[in-house]
Amino acid sequence: MNAARIVASGFRTNLKMLGTSSFFLLTSTVQPVIFATLAFFMYRTGDRAGTLLYAALGAGMMGVWSTTLFGSGGMIQWQRWQGTLELGVGAPPSMTLVYLPFSLANSFTGMYALVATLVWGRLVFGVPLHFAHPWLFVLALPATVISLGLMGLVLASTFILYRYANALANLLEYPVWIASGLVFSTSLLPSWTRPISWILPPYWGILALRHAALGGGSVWVPLALVAALGVASIAVAAVTFRLFERLARDRATLSLT
């Protein structure tokens, strides 16, 4: 019960904080619309206009990933700047539980991206929004967002030790877009990259969303794998938070900015 209250109140608080951040609103709405516009122009120019919904979904997921990434990257660092990291670490609940709602709120904010690209695509480029399996889409979307949030928690835990988190966040943005095949098929990539794609929740998430929206494949298999990766992420995060917190205490680097 206590855990549920911590998650609910942390989620609500962080959502309000993110809502006042112009940088987050840019990342979660404007940037995905820009990439969606580029993808629409590119697909339309290349006579692949039938794939515009494919592009809108991919650009939206790019926004979800960016928001999760920058949110997770910044989460620990912002707490350092605000001087509240020690309070979070010193609180009786585990760090995983303290920061879980923050990470979930980051990903939830990322969901604005998908809404923004679909609405933009419909209004400006006339993208038809006919979903093959609308109910499965409604199921796949939160599952993917939650799984990304849990993966963000793993990233955030590493940022307790790594103080240049934003740089790592910058580094991971494009590579994960590429390895997850968000706006193109991963079959274009070298075969050695496949295992990397398989361990990324966005890869299975976009497959689930794409199959639910466009048909042409099972939704349940990628959905199950997204959920499994989410569970694995929280298990890993529980270990890494404990490990990295202890290391940061040992080295007395926890609050160093």
């Binding site: 820009i34 590119m42 692949r48 740089a167 790592l168 910058n170 580094l171 098929s185």
Partner: protein
């Protein structure tokens, strides 16, 4: 004159070293050296899927465009960073010549933008087999320098706006997005709506990218003189406009006591 040059070169270099957190290798390498290659790869794969253009076309467009991230953020932070470190008032209280003070900050940014752009070309060569004729490389290097200069000019303008609007990362991000969409980086200009095509003519990068693509195809630098001159002119125009705005906002900031308001 000697003081002017000292402020321009030494002051610019010290400011660059002092204000950029990302000059540390742990930050600099992922952000500015690996980022352009990742961007090149992403759009080349997207281009293959869309059946749009060759990989080389995307390598050139995105490598040249990546100069804008270093230039826009660099110039933005060269000005706004002073406010964050609470040294803006001290800097503006000095009797130093403002042209030397602010234009000097542009030189390291320009060089850094060129290096950033060059890594995109190297990444494209290593991972996508981009092989321009050897004879075209000096021309391409000059065009990268030119694009970096024009972007630094735009950076001066957006940095000046940051003195008033306070949110430099957002201004820089939005400016980069405009360049990415409008300048023919990933979509041929003639395939964009007419008004976008017209707007692109007045933006940095458009002419440098078009010229770089022609030079990489084997054209001589002399055959793209018009593009070179237009890009150069745009760079000077943005630089002067940015400098004029900077002076104006400085005076306004002094008058209203808002210089240090973050």
């Amino acid at each position: 004159m000697r003081t002017w040059l000292r402020i321009f070169f030494v002051g610019g270099a010290i400011s660059f070293r002092a204000l950029f957190a990302w000059i540390r290798p742990a930050v600099y390498v992922p952000t500015l050296l690996l980022g352009p290659t990742a961007q090149v790869l992403f759009f080349a794969y997207l281009g293959r899927t869309a059946h749009l253009q060759s990989d080389s076309w995307f390598v050139i467009g995105n490598a040249v465009q990546s100069a804008s991230s270093a230039a826009l953020f660099g110039m933005g932070f060269a000005i706004d960073g002073e406010r964050w470190t609470q040294t803006l008032s001290a800097v503006l209280a000095t009797p130093a010549n403002r042209a030397a003070l602010f234009l000097g900050r542009g030189l390291p940014v320009l060089l850094n933008a060129s290096v950033t752009s060059a890594t995109g070309f190297v990444g494209g060569a290593l991972l996508l087999g981009f092989r321009p004729p050897l004879s075209s490389i000096p021309g391409l290097a000059l065009l990268v320098l030119l694009a970096s200069f024009a972007c630094t000019g735009l950076g001066m303008l957006t940095g000046a706006v940051g003195l008033r609007m306070r949110d430099v990362p957002i201004i820089a991000n939005l400016s980069m997005a405009v360049l990415l969409i409008f300048c023919g980086v990933n979509v041929p200009l003639d395939k964009l709506p007419h008004w976008m095509h017209l707007a692109a003519d007045g933006l940095p990068l458009t002419h440098a990218i078009a010229a770089a693509r022609r030079v990489a195809d084997g054209a001589s630098l002399g055959s793209v003189t018009t593009s070179v001159l237009v890009e150069l002119g745009l760079g000077f125009a943005y630089l002067l406009l940015g400098f004029a705005l900077l002076r104006w906002f400085e005076l306004e900031g002094r008058r209203h006591g808002t210089l240090e308001r973050a």
